[in-house]
């Protein structure tokens, strides 16, 4: 078991990466910097020079606007690309090893496929599909391959066979009471879900890792106070606080994300702290300390890389909770009903459930599958990271 | 001791495990026996199948994936063919086990008293008070000071040596006739080790038990064994009286094991090479790949049949068989014996640096 240790990528390869970071920028940081710059410029331009209602890209004739949240979303995507995807490519050996471990878990591979669909759909769907339009005339169209009594939809888009309105490919998942296409709304909902997933986890990771490592390295009473603070954060009745805050202060998507993150980082901080403490006990940290590495270098070079895989796993397992919270709050009618999330769609369709169940079922099942996929993925990552766990049973 | 029937007779014991990588044969056709009042040591390197062999006696290994074949006769009864419920009556009652790591071998959530009385009350219909009295008595007997107070302590409140004493007390509740001790002193430091060995020795007389003792430590063997069984890669290489074997080790493997003892002028480093892959053992003698006397005949066929080289000393080596020449092996031997080999002479085995 122990001999496998050197195979673990997060201990070997990340060290090179950080070592170069001490003297000059690694290719990852350079790439991050180079790609963030235009984004930041665009952000400043959008903020300062275009009107509130003017779409960001009007200057090139595109009628698409970028909200603040979109800028953050793109930023987190860049982060994920340069510090997650590129390192995987840079270290093909460990990527292969990881993939081999991961591949054995078939549900997880399927889950990854599904999440890839949601990701790509959320990223590019809104770019190629027009936003869902209200068209009362075609309200309550049934999904394709199904049919409802002719009287349910205002006018039937498909054929009417013996008093039954048939679904069409024009609206593969049917339409809502407002005649909006459910499929389009689900694709737009993917964007929202991905924004929640990426931005919230980034904030949680930043706060959690910073707080945890600081606490571990400060030690003494500072550590004690910081960990007591985490205790308090974890004791809050989270969902109720969401309700209260979002109700009092009103909640757009941005507010949702901020509130979710503020109550979710406690566990991460606690984990990173204990990991830092145990890692700093290990020999190679002592060695690098003796050789004169600063605390920052130790954290940057050893603690974060060593904990990286576990942090990513923990974050993966946090995401379904966020998606669920959003859906629950949306269902309760708290939050901005203009945000086209899955939860809003479920909430909107509830009153028509008995005769138009697809409005609730379609987004509900998509939400269920996404939460399931994140859980399977997290579980598989846990297994892939702990080859010991399985070896014990052999 | 000299019953015409041994307390425990094990014949052709074979234990296999089905794993993802195929079938693993941990114990392969092993014979040995234990008489009442006698201590038999199974000796061998780690991974030679000693533990599996002893745990197969009362079938306490997991089946499946394990599978046990052969015969295990205890007082004339074939244990392997007994139904599980009858076997449970034997375990802990007539045949008791103690294990290598007392720390892990006790459940950390229960007091030691609970764990001892559990063993007692499974087999005997005694009241809680009686059970407690007996357990305290046993704790006292195995040398736990202030036993009645310590009855309610948890395992983590005992030191390593004390834990092993508690394990021994637990093993003694049924007044067993056979005690199987699987490296009971390996995890302990040397002084404690000696105390535990002495305790076992006393208890053996007191309870008139046969002891089947597993160890890789020949120093311990020299101290306690009446007879020894040398195992290598699931096979018995040699068995016989401890004095005979220490004086005239027949099998090259036994000779090399003995050379590792400091008393025999060990140069350190042990035996070069490693145990063969249990999924795919070599043809012929299992030890042949590491044996300096190995010939072509050693590398083909099955493990050679056991030959009685002296009274009650059996060796499984080609060189003793028909057409073999024992002097090839014996002349280089360690024992003074009838040959002119020098005691503690230069080791033939160089230190291994792998």
């Amino acid at each position: 078991m122990a001999t496998e240790e050197s195979e673990r990528f997060d201990q070997v390869d990340w060290n090179d990466l950080s070592r170069s970071g001490r003297f000059d920028l690694s290719i990852n940081s350079l790439g991050m910097l180079l790609t963030t710059l235009p984004l930041a410029l665009l952000g400043v331009y959008d903020w300062q020079f275009t009107g509130r209602r003017t779409p960001t890209f009007e200057f090139i004739g595109l009628d698409r606007g970028l909200e603040t949240i979109d800028f953050f979303f793109i930023f987190t995507l860049l982060l994920a690309f340069w510090y997650l995807v590129v390192p995987l490519y840079q270290n093909p050996r460990m990527t292969r090893y990881y993939w081999k471990e991961f591949k054995r878990n078939r549900p997880a591979v399927v889950s990854l496929g599904w999440l890839a669909i949601v990701f790509v759909g959320g990223l590019f769907g809104p770019l190629i599909m027009d936003p869902p339009q209200q068209e009362l005339l075609i309200a309550y169209q049934p999904p394709v391959f199904t049919s409802v009594v002719d009287t349910t939809p205002a006018t039937c888009v498909g054929e009417v066979v013996s008093g039954q309105c048939q679904g069409t490919w024009q609206h593969p998942l049917g339409t809502t009471q407002g005649g909006k296409d459910v499929f389009t709304m689900i694709v737009y909902g993917m964007t929202i879900s991905m924004q929640i997933a990426f931005i919230t986890t980034t904030i949680v990771a930043v706060i959690g890792v910073t707080f945890g490592t600081l606490s571990a390295y400060a030690g003494g009473w500072v550590d004690e106070v910081m960990m007591r603070f985490v205790d308090i954060i974890l004791s809050f009745p989270t969902f109720l606080m969401f309700l209260l805050i979002l109700y009092i202060y009103g909640g757009g998507l941005g507010m949702f994300i901020v509130v979710f993150s503020l109550f979710a980082w406690g566990g991460m901080a606690r984990y990173v702290r204990s990991k830092s403490l145990s890692i700093s006990e290990e020999e190679f940290i002592k060695a690098s300390r003796i050789s004169g590495a600063s605390t920052y270098q130790v954290i940057r070079g050893h603690v974060v890389p060593n904990a990286a895989s576990s942090i990513i796993t923990n974050l993966t397992l946090l995401i379904p909770g966020f998606l669920l919270f959003e859906a629950q709050l949306a269902f309760l009618g708290i939050g901005d009903s203009a945000v086209p999330s899955w939860g809003q769609l479920i909430s909107a369709g509830r009153s028509d459930l008995s005769f138009a169940p697809w409005i609730v079922l379609a987004p509900g099942i998509v939400l269920f599958l996404t939460i399931l996929a994140f859980n399977f993925l997290g579980d598989a990552l846990l297994d892939a990271l702990n080859p010991e766990a399985e070896a014990e049973n052999a | 001791m000299a019953d015409d029937q041994s307390l425990l007779e094990v014949e052709d014991l074979t234990t296999t495990f089905s794993t993802d990588n195929g079938t693993l044969t941990a114990v392969d056709g092993v014979d040995f026996s234990v008489d009442t009042g006698e201590t038999v040591c199974i000796v061998g390197e780690s991974g030679s199948g000693k533990t599996v062999a002893t745990e197969s006696v009362t079938k306490i290994i997991k089946t499946p994936p394990g599978q046990i074949e052969g015969t295990v006769r205890y007082k004339g009864r074939d244990l392997l063919s007994l139904p599980e419920s009858e076997l449970r009556q034997v375990r802990g009652n007539e045949i008791a086990h103690i294990f290598q790591n007392p720390q892990e071998a006790m459940n950390h959530c229960y007091t030691v008293g609970w764990q001892i009385t559990e063993a007692l009350q499974i087999h005997q219909d005694v009241s809680d008070d009686e059970a407690r009295a007996k357990a305290v008595d046993l704790l006292d007997r195995v040398g736990i000071a202030n036993a009645s107070a310590r009855f309610d302590d948890y395992p983590h409140e005992f030191s390593g040596g004390q834990k092993q004493r508690v394990m021994i007390a637990m093993a003694l509740v049924g007044d067993p006739d056979l005690l199987i001790a699987d490296e009971p002193t390996t995890a302990l430091d040397v002084t404690v080790q000696a105390q535990i060995l002495r305790l076992l020795d006393d208890l053996q007389d007191e309870f008139d038990m046969g002891i089947l003792f597993v160890t890789h430590d020949l120093g311990v063997v020299a101290e306690i064994a009446d007879r020894i069984v040398v195992m290598y890669a699931g096979k018995v290489m040699e068995r016989g009286d401890v004095l005979d074997i220490f004086d005239h080790p027949g099998h090259p493997y036994t000779q090399q094991l003995l050379e590792c003892l400091p008393e025999f002028g060990a140069t350190g480093g042990g035996i070069p090479g490693t145990l063969p892959d249990p999924h795919d053992p070599p043809d012929g003698c299992r030890f042949a790949p590491r044996c300096e006397y190995a010939e072509e005949a050693c590398r083909t066929g099955e493990q050679p049949a056991e030959i009685e080289v002296a009274l009650d000393q059996h060796v499984s080596c080609v060189h003793y068989g028909p057409g073999g020449n024992p002097s090839i092996v014996r002349s280089e031997g360690l024992g003074p014996g009838d040959e002119s080999g020098s005691v503690g002479g230069d080791s033939e085995v160089g230190p291994a640096d792998d």
Binding site: P237, F239, L244, V360, F368 | I122
Partner: protein
Amino acid sequence: MGFGRYLSARVLWAGVVSLIIVTVTFLMLAAAPNPAVRQAATQAALQGGDPAAAAERARELRGLNEPLHVRYFDFIQSVYTLDWGWSVSRSQPVMEAVTQALYYTAQYSIPWTILTIILGPLVGVYSAANMYSWKDHAATGFAFFGYAIPNFFFGIILLLVFGVWLEWIPITYNTGVPVFSVENAIQLAIPVFVLVTGSIGAVMRVSRNESAEFQNADFMKTAKAKGVSPLRAYAYHVMRPTLVPLSTTLVGQLLALFLGASLLVEVVFAIPGLGRLTYEALIAQDTNLVLGTTLFFTFVAVIGNLIEDLVFTVLDPRISYDDR
């Protein structure tokens, strides 16, 4: 440190935590515009009066003109003396509203908690004992299904299927039936099922994974060598140590669901319990009632965490009270 001192230290800490949460809640509400004041101002403006003066009067009426710290101490005092004020929307004292709602919440919470506590570990250990068999896979599949399906969505679907289509269960909750009656059992069966499905998954997974470790432990071999039957070995030697890590998951899971999903489930099934009370108080902008229910849930959370810590310490004999 003995258990007594550990216990008092923990209880004291729970008090501190609840005080802090109460304070944060207070500050949050203090910083928000009071809907009653705004309403008074709007009212005045509509009737041609002076909105500013009306707002001022409304503030005075509610004691909002007092300095923050005075209001804070009044608030804290009333919180801990259980004088939680008057609910405008329900025209009854907040305390009374909460107690009444609790009566309905308890009716499904108690069976749900009991079922989770009993079934979760049992199925989990059973699953571990038959690891990688179809039984294990089925249990694992159910566990994943349970915690992936949003409770409110699951509730809606079951209500649609069993209430609307099959008409086996009533669609609206009937508060008139006696607690211990078949009718009540029928109308609570689906909510309890939904909640158990949600909470049991994590409990099963933890029991399965933790007990998998214990069933291969050396002490299981000792037990077998002592002649302990497999059933007894699982019941005592595997279940007992599994309870230690499980205790942390169990309480946390139940609490999280109690504070979140139960609200949704009550809304979906129209059960007039605490969750719905909270929700309706928010919609009706009934500040006192919102605070009251929030405080109640806060106390439940704090006490739950306290119990979790204590149970964990009591269950694992190896933990010395000095460590925590």
